[in-house]
Amino acid sequence: MLQLPEIYAENIHRWLPELLYYSLTTLKIGFFSFVLAVLFGVFFALCRTSRNRFLRGFAIGYIEIARGLPIVVVLYIVYFVPPQLFPGINWQWFSDFTAAVLGLGLHGGAILAEVFRSGIEALHKGQREAAISLGMTPAKAMTYIILPQAARIVLPPTGNYAIGLLKDTSLCTLIGVNEIMNGAKSIASSDYQPMAVFVLVAVIYFAMSYPLSLAVRYMERRLRVSG
């Protein structure tokens, strides 16, 4: 029988600092791709709700494709395909890290576009009219009436997306990014302790994602009260 406590007692002083160091990269990927996903999400949500038929079709196409593809496939396509399609360009700058952020950001943009769209559409158009009829400019109506309401609708699913994203960064190991899974694989194979190492990694991920999910639940409860 495996004696996990003993293994940890013996090795944790070496494993934990190393894994935490790698988890910084995990957090970095998560942060940058989240920012990128929000930008893409806003852009495609606006296109999706636009009156222009071409923009709408473009957004629908993007959203369906990006949501229909497994993330691994998105990462492989983003990392490997452009250099091969355009071999004339210098691709030195295009690191695995850049590809990971871009790939996760593109994928997340499609998810957030749908989230933001539901936020925009859930608002009755009477809200804008009421604000405007009180003498607000469209900018003020947006700031004081529309955005505060939209935020209530959009924040919890955006938080859930962030949790999913944090876990999805683990897939970046598959294109060779030196994040926590990559670190874990090398420790597990050099120390012959895969069970202990991967369970420890699971605990580290949980320690990162659980506070986030508590925060989302708190938001859901708080925001529901004043509907």
């Binding site: 229909g68 395909v81 598959l174 999910s213």
Partner: protein, 221 residues
Amino acid sequence: MNFFQIIEDKGWYFFTTLLSGWPATLTVAIGSLAFALVFGLIVALMRMSRWKLLRWPATAYVEFFRGTPALVQLFVIYFGFPDVGYQPSPFQAAILGLGLNGAAYLSEIYRAGIESIHRGQMEAALTLGMTPRRAMQYIVLPQALRTMLPPMTNFAIVLLKDTSIVFTVGVLEVMALARQLVTETLMSAPIYLMAGAMYLCVTIPMARVAARLERQRQAWH
């Protein structure tokens, strides 16, 4: 090397090779879906139980499996279980890993569906002399199923996409074959794009079905 030249020369070979990975992909998807459907229901019922001893482990299970990546769960099972004396086959590890991960999600869908059914339904069934279990089985669950169908379809799509990571534990599915083809021919662009297109051929129609089910469900209410 011209992209279209490659497609012309090797396209059919790539296509048939990738196609031969689909049985494995679907086996893992369906196997883990079946596992998650059954185990997820058990977990959901445990979480709604009156007994703390049933509720707590179920809650801990859901929280932990939802809080960690599926890839880590797969690695613990495939590379870790041998440490405790059990070497699962790639298929066993894949189905167990995605199934356990999926059950945590499905239990939440079950729970939301069951809780959406009005308490009065359960009470009406009890006053008719049904046991709580009968009432759940004949009255509450059939109604909840209607609410749950759209999110379950979405879950099936997610699960199908998630099978693309099980090559890491040695299952020879679509992505595994794609990677092999790339190592063999070094032509990553056409191969990964073709693999992506194949996934879309399955996931987009499924998403359409889920959207239609959701519209129907809203029409019922």
